[in-house]
């Protein structure tokens, strides 16, 4: 590499490095420092692991933590289950004239902000909402039922929010899947089940994993949907972090929680990659 090219590279990469440093690295370092500091008996800040001790000693915190992790994995899995047939239908079943149209149709809801979409669901589902109105009008129910504020609704909302991020990578891997592979498997005696599990899913694995990582991260870090659709019983770990920072004004505790969430997401993604024999470098291509 000659000198001019090296300078060129530096100029182009500098904004990225500055951005990473100012917005990612420095705040993280600050968070890390804050997380390991707490008030001592005299009310002075000093090194302490008390913030982490609080997390393990208070059941509400680690239970919310575990709940968030389990539900995020569940949401990721459900999103995959729902999106895979949709992606397969768009890329392989429908004639190519409608492919673009159907893709746009699935992406269209995401042009609206998440907040508006969640409020849309709430208008549909709440006790005095559209669905209850029709159920009572048609005589199926005689008294409105609260459809909001339970885990099932929250999971549905999260799946709905995440679908796009699973769909796009799946569409691109399925687009590259040669139809002849499916036909060859069929010709060699495969049935729907064995073709799906032995040919289509293994082929799409990089796309599935990259979609899953994005969906998992977004779900784990989601605040809006669990908060609005999950109600008081449906705690989400991001709410705990928010409470520490905003409500209790305990930034040290909030930083510790934030760090724990970072460790959790990294750990689960690492396990996921190991289980599927994928490498991060290959998946994000």
């Amino acid at each position: 590499m000659n000198k001019g090219m090296r300078w060129g590279l530096l100029i182009f990469i500098l904004p990225v490095l500055v951005w990473l440093l100012l917005l990612i690295v420095l705040p993280q370092v600050d968070m890390a420092v804050m997380a390991i500091r707490a008030d001592n008996e005299w009310g002075e800040k000093g090194f302490s692991l008390a913030n982490f001790r609080v997390f393990f000693s208070e059941p509400i915190y680690w239970r919310t933590f575990a709940r968030t992790a389990v539900f995020s994995v569940l949401v990721t899995f459900l999103t995959f289950l729902i999106t895979m047939p949709v992606a397969f239908y768009i890329t392989k079943v429908v004639s190519s004239r409608f492919q673009g149209f159907l893709t746009v149709l699935t992406l269209l809801p995401f042009w609206v902000s998440e907040l508006v979409r969640v409020y849309g669901w709430m208008i549909l589902l709440r006790e005095s909402g559209v669905i209850n109105h029709f159920l009572i009008k048609s005589g199926i129910l005689n008294k409105p039922v609260e459809l909001l504020y339970n885990d099932a609704t929250m999971v549905m909302g999260l799946v709905y929010t995440s679908m796009l991020f699973m769909l796009v990578p799946l569409l691109s891997v399925l687009e590259n899947l040669d139809n002849n592979l499916i036909e060859a498997a069929y010709d060699l005696g495969g049935n729907v089940w064995s073709i799906t599990t032995k040919i289509i899913i293994p082929y799409c694995l990089p796309g599935i994993v990259s979609g899953s990582i994005v969906v998992f991260m977004l779900t784990l870090g989601n605040y809006l949907t669990p908060n609005l659709m999950g109600g008081k019983n449906g705690l989400w770990f991001t709410e705990q972090i928010y409470n520490q920072f905003i409500a209790s004004f305990n930034w040290n505790q909030g930083s510790a929680f934030g760090f724990l969430l970072l460790i959790l997401s990294s750990a689960i993604i690492w396990i996921g990659l190991k289980l599927t024999h994928q490498s991060l470098g290959k998946v994000v291509q």
Partner: protein, 369 residues
Amino acid sequence: MQTDLSVINVTKTFKDFTAVESVSFDVEKGRFFSILGPSGCGKTTLLRMISGFFEPTSGVIEINGKNMAGIPPNKRPVNLIFQNLALFPMMNVGQNIAFGLERKKEKRVVIRRKTAEILERVGLPGFEKKKVDQLSGGQRQRVAIARSLILEPAVLLLDEPLGALDLKLREQMKIELKTLQTQVGTTFVYITHDQSEALVMSDHVAVMNKGRFEQVDTPRNLYSKPLTPFVARFVGENNQWPARMTGINTIDGGKQASITTSEGLAFKAVMKAGIDPGEAVDLFLRPESIVLEPDPSIKTLNRFSIRVQSILFDGANSRLLALLPESGREIQISLPQTRQFDHIQPGSKVEAGWAPESGILFPAKPVTP
């Protein structure tokens, strides 16, 4: 001889387009049968009907004497080799080959033994652990064939598997494929648009055009006795020469036709039934049946003179591109590389001749398809 595959009066229409029109043929056990035709002639549709991906609109397909109507591809005793081979990229060679047997719930030990056996048979012993993308074009081909042969199909269908290979490898694979077929004894049905592939490998070739079979015959007969103008044009090189029949004379017990070409040259050719004097005909003359500078003593030869336009040198396949001085019609003539004709240069005037037996007449169609 047992018939492995019978196709009886099969037609396939897509909306208002007829892809395959009342095609019938039988393939005997252990034969190498080719379907030769230009792209879009319906040969792939026919193959997909035999393998079960399409149902015929009408007609019957029988394999081992059993009607295949309504039987899906995964239940048919035939296997298809795809044009791009369709090897599963996420599996290694062994897993690719074992795929079919695993679907049959075969025991693991049996699968491993059979995989090793079949790899041995296609000349790739010990290749089980290799990745598909580590293989050369010819090796991939053999893996694809092994993957199908391990299921012991009654008929192996091949959809232009040599199409993607480069010329040198294609020549080599042609011979290899024929040898392999003789060794394993499985019936092969091979489709191609490459006449040399069909002629070299097959026991019988069907020439297909616009959804119909024009002729089903041995490669030699297709070449020397084409039944239709299409076969004459499509199989091998041919000069097509419009003419008119002027009369019929009897020579040595056989009938000979006198014809006059559009340039006014008078020739004699072997008579063909169904043409009457006065009718327009097309004379088909192979480049190699035209003799350069024929011996003046041979009386029966049709003679004419040409002007050499260019020499298309291609080793043993070299040609002269010659013009008729009368009309400017282009004629291709084989140029044997025996040094005998080295003096011929572009622009030379040369005598040429052909024997009446080697010209084939067909009634001229007003518009040739």
